[in-house]
């Protein structure tokens, strides 16, 4: 597959010449033809600005945007032949649904008969053929969302941009619509850039994703790669739940690093951050997902076992999250599928991990939420 969208060292600074703030800094990424590529990050990280730069709604301070070999960088948005769905949907209240969807075709001076047919097709594609005569105000949020999608796809754009398209829907509809969007995108086979701050949405919908933080790309990969092997403690913490254990570097062994837990246990684990060159006695942070932490009353010969005290548990329906004191500063979380017999608050227990599930990071890295702003 060939790269369809290439973003090269994109920068965007806002503000006056005296006080400039970089919203996007040195962002480079490539989306393959037909791929759904997600920009994921906390609010204010620059992901929407990146999308708006790709759309041409903002002009970059530096860098280039190339689509199918054509330099987009200084092209106005209406010459880029793209479709975009906005967070607020931006449907036109003074036009019917039909006219809303037909808007891009009229801008392209399509013949009237052609408009009729293609708008009909687009409305069928999103399953709302019967609503053509309505006004946007008469539609539910989910319906408006699909109309916005139809409006963006009807004229056959080569690139689809979605800016937090699901954030205004309730939780159930959000799950349903993200699958709909995925299906429609697959059927149209269109290269898509999707912006969201919702990690679950990003993991479930994307072919690949870029995690963005403070205007920079932190990691690019498939959902599984990013979830299993986050590049930094920040990414690990942002994508789902994470346990962090303090440790100290003892030595290195090839690509792996040997660390010692405060309890005196030595482990040989993978580095999460491939740029890290650990030196002995350096502080390290170990990461493991709660669902990879097992909890039991007695030893069973697992690779890593630590004694702990059960503090409490949180019943979440599908899982039960145990909060444990394993001697480190922070509590350790362990997710079980059901309430475990014999594990009770205040009682001692044993936590167990597999070495393959653990990643080590330099001890200086902190979760984003704990960094000084």
């Amino acid at each position: 597959m060939t790269a369809s969208l290439v973003v090269e060292k994109l920068c965007k600074e806002f503000g006056t010449s005296a006080e400039r703030v970089a919203a996007v800094c040195d962002v480079s990424l490539e989306a393959q033809a037909g791929e759904l590529f997600t920009l994921l990050g906390p609010s204010g990280c620059g992901k929407t600005t990146t999308l708006r730069l790709i759309a041409g709604l903002e002009s970059p301070t530096a860098g280039r945007i190339i689509f199918d070999g054509q330099d987009f960088t200084s092209l106005p948005p209406f010459r880029r032949n793209l479709g975009m769905v906005f967070q607020s949907y931006a449907l036109y209240p003074h036009m019917s649904i039909f006219e809303n969807v037909a808007y891009g075709l009229r801008a392209r001076r399509t013949a009237e008969a052609d408009i009729r047919r293609r708008v009909g097709d687009a409305l069928e594609l999103v399953g709302l053929g019967a609503l053509a005569a309505r006004r946007p105000g008469q539609l539910s949020g989910g319906q408006q969302q699909r109309i916005a999608l139809a409006r963006a796809l009807v004229y056959g754009p080569r690139l689809l941009l979605l800016d937090e398209p699901l954030s205004n829907l309730d939780a159930k509809l959000r799950v349903y619509m993200r699958e709909e969007i995925r299906k429609i995108q697959q059927r149209a086979g269109i290269t898509t850039v999707y912006v969201t701050h919702d990690q679950e949405e990003a993991l479930s919908i994307s072919d690949r994703l870029a995690v963005i933080y403070r205007g920079r790309v932190v990691q690019i990969g498939t959902p599984a790669e990013v979830y299993e092997s986050p590049a930094t403690v920040g990414v690990a913490d942002f994508l789902g739940r994470a346990n962090f254990l303090e440790a100290r570097v003892v030595g290195t062994h090839g690509d792996r690093v040997r660390v010692r837990l405060p309890a005196g246990l030595d482990l040989e684990v993978d580095r999460g951050d491939s740029t890290w060159r650990p030196v002995p006695n350096e502080a390290a942070t170990l990461f493991i997902r709660p669902e990879r932490v097992r909890l039991g009353g007695s030893t069973d010969g697992s690779a890593v076992e630590l004694p702990c005290t059960v503090q409490r548990y949180i019943f979440l329906g599908g899982i039960v999250r145990y909060v444990l004191d394993a001697g480190g500063g922070r509590p350790v979380l362990a997710d079980a599928q059901r309430l475990l017999p014999g594990i009770e608050a205040g009682k001692p227990a044993r936590v167990k991990f597999d070495l393959a599930d653990i990643r080590a990071y330099p001890g200086t890295q902190r979760p984003w939420g704990e960094e000084a702003a």
């Binding site: 060292k9 759309a55 041409g56 709604l57 970059p60 301070t61 530096a62 860098g63 280039r64 106005p76 948005p77 209406f78 010459r79 880029r80 032949n81 793209l82 479709g83 975009m84 906005f86 967070q87 607020s88 931006a90 036109y92 209240p93 003074h94 808007y103 891009g104 801008a107 392209r108 916005a148 409006r151 963006a152 004229y155 941009l161």
Partner: protein
């Protein structure tokens, strides 16, 4: 890799530049130039040419030396301040009652409450003479039945009465708006925390509506200070600043002296606006966010009766002038009693022959000025809200200056600027049109920019990503979505221009007399019938234009005035 810097002129937005340039030019020619002239002139002796050695303070010194000047200033302040306070006393309870007491016909109350603002105030002023003047209906009635002489309506009492009853709707509508848009959960939470009703009113409700009260009072003060018609009709020998300006300019052809008085009047307006700004800024009032539901209504029997009686009484008194004018317009002959004895359409027939010209002039000028102001104001609002460009302060100034200048001062400024020199417009329709447009652009600008701020920029961005050029986006999306706001502003503009007298009285010529001038002349000639007939026609035209706008917009009459 840094993008090469483009030349500054390439980075200019052509639309913004064009509109700003146009706005700047209009501002320069029709606002800055005449205002500079009036400022300069007021420091020149009467009829002296402009020269540095000629500069003098003699026109201003008259405020110290001349009893006429001193009195006019004091009178202006007394009547304007008294009217603002009385209007507050009348309007505030009414706003509370309509907003917070359960009663029928609130929509009607709000529409009727707007009526005094719609009708030119000097018309109402005259009807108080009909009622309470030396030979007034009520004066005679009381004299005959009670043998008691009412004090004279001329001078301060009449002017204050006309201002108060003509302008109290500003307080009423603004405070009502603030009360009905405040989030009721604020008061409910105070109640849950144990606040008594009186404590809540004092500590929460009143502070919430303070900005509205202040704005209403400042508007009334400014309107009263700038009103020419009311003191001209009711003042007699009781001079105020506006009538003094008129006296200097029309009586003595002394533009320079008139300019100096106008400047003094502007100073007071500017100070009151500054105080308003200061008060609302410093106290850090949060803009009241839209209420999600209506506040709870008081349902007690006593309070409901009180509220209905009060609102009925206030509106009844405030609408007496309108009723009286309507009746007088049909009166053919008055007997010895209080009421006319013979009714006919004679007055209407008469004005349709003798005042046909002014009617046409009024419609022509108001329409032309409204359309021009609508186009310019909308473009300016578009640039001011949507384009981040340097030089936006030019627009802000264009918008603020005519607000500070009372109508008669704008008239004097335009006359100073264009009665001689490189561009002579006096005596033409253009001088009136120019003054009207300059004075009313702010109305359009405000409502258009309010409308534009409400429009999600994503609407326009979505249009661009759909492949629409800037031209298509603005004509298909932006301007259609702004239209309701522009229409609202335009309908206010048109209505107030039809009833405009303060600026017109300085600028009109024999050929370009407006309806209001014709009415004023009828009144001076004591021709009550034709004056009332023409006044009724004017009121009907104003009401029709506002009702049409309401119909198009689906709003109430009152909401149109709230943004002014």
């Amino acid at each position: 890799m840094r993008a090469p810097r483009t030349a500054w002129w390439r980075r200019l937005d052509p639309v913004a530049t064009l509109v700003l340039g146009l706005a700047g030019l209009i501002l320069l020619v029709f606002l800055v130039y005449p205002i500079s002239r009036i400022v300069l002139n007021s420091f020149l002796p009467t009829d002296a040419p402009l020269a540095l050695t000629n500069l003098t303070l003699e026109h201003f010194a008259r405020f110290a030396a001349s009893p006429l000047y001193r009195k006019a200033l004091v009178h202006s302040l007394i009547v304007s301040l008294t009217a603002s306070v009385l209007a507050l006393l009348i309007g505030l309870p009414m706003a509370f009652f309509v907003a917070r007491v359960k009663m029928p016909g609130k929509t009607l109350l709000l529409s009727l409450g707007t009526l005094p603002l719609v009708v030119p105030p000097f018309l109402g002023a005259y009807s108080w003479i009909l009622l309470l003047g030396r030979n007034g209906i009520l004066t005679n009635f009381i004299k005959q039945t009670l043998g008691f002489h009412l004090p004279s309506i001329y001078g301060a009492p009449g002017i204050i009465l006309a201002f108060t009853l003509g302008y109290f709707p500003y307080v009423f509508l603004l405070v009502y708006g603030a009360l009905s848009s405040a989030d009721p959960s604020l008061e409910e939470s105070a109640e849950i925390m144990g606040g008594s009703r009186w404590r809540i009113t004092r500590t929460l409700t009143l502070p919430l509506v303070t900005p509205a009260i202040a704005a209403g009072m400042v508007i009334i003060f400014m309107q009263s200070l700038g009103s020419f018609g009311v003191p001209a009709v009711l003042g007699g020998e009781y001079y105020v600043l506006t009538t003094l300006i008129y006296f200097q300019i029309v009586g003595h052809f002394d533009l320079n002296a008139g300019g100096a008085i106008a400047l003094v009047s502007v100073a007071f307006t500017a100070v009151s606006l500054y105080l308003l700004h200061h008060l609302t800024e410093r106290r850090g009032y949060i803009t009241v966010t839209g209420a999600t539901r209506a506040a709870r209504q008081l349902e007690g029997r006593g309070i409901r009766i009180l509220a209905m009686a009060y609102c009925g009484l206030v509106l009844g008194v405030a609408l007496i002038p309108q009723a009286l004018i309507l009746m007088t317009s049909f009166a053919e002959r008055w007997g010895t009693g209080a009421l006319p004895t013979v009714f006919s359409l004679g007055n209407y027939r008469r004005v349709f022959t003798s005042a046909w010209g002014p009617m046409q002039n009024s419609l022509f000028l108001a329409t032309l000025a409204t359309v021009t102001a609508a186009v310019l104001g909308t473009l300016m609002a578009y640039v001011a809200v949507r384009k981040a460009v340097r030089g936006r302060w030019v627009l802000d100034l264009t918008i603020t200056l005519p607000f500070i200048f009372p109508g008669i001062a704008v008239g004097v400024a335009i006359l100073s600027g264009f009665s001689s020199g490189w561009l002579v417009l006096s005596g033409t329709w253009m001088i009136l049109a120019v003054a009207y447009v300059i004075r009313r652009i702010p109305y359009i600008f405000r409502s258009a920019s309010a409308a534009l701020t409400q429009i999600d920029p994503a609407m326009e961005e979505a249009s661009a990503t759909c492949g629409a050029s800037w031209l298509r986006t603005s004509t298909r999306i932006t301007f259609p979505l702004m239209l309701p706001g522009v229409l609202a502003g335009a309908s206010i503009t048109f209505s107030t221009l039809l009833g405009e007298l303060s600026t017109t009285i300085i600028l009109y010529s024999a050929r370009w007399k407006t309806m209001t001038v014709a009415i004023y002349e009828y009144l001076l000639a004591d021709l009550l019938g034709p004056a009332s007939a023409l006044g009724t026609l004017l009121t009907v035209a104003v009401l029709a234009s506002m009702l049409l706008a309401n119909k198009l917009l689906g709003r109430t009459l009152g909401s149109l005035f709230r943004m002014v």
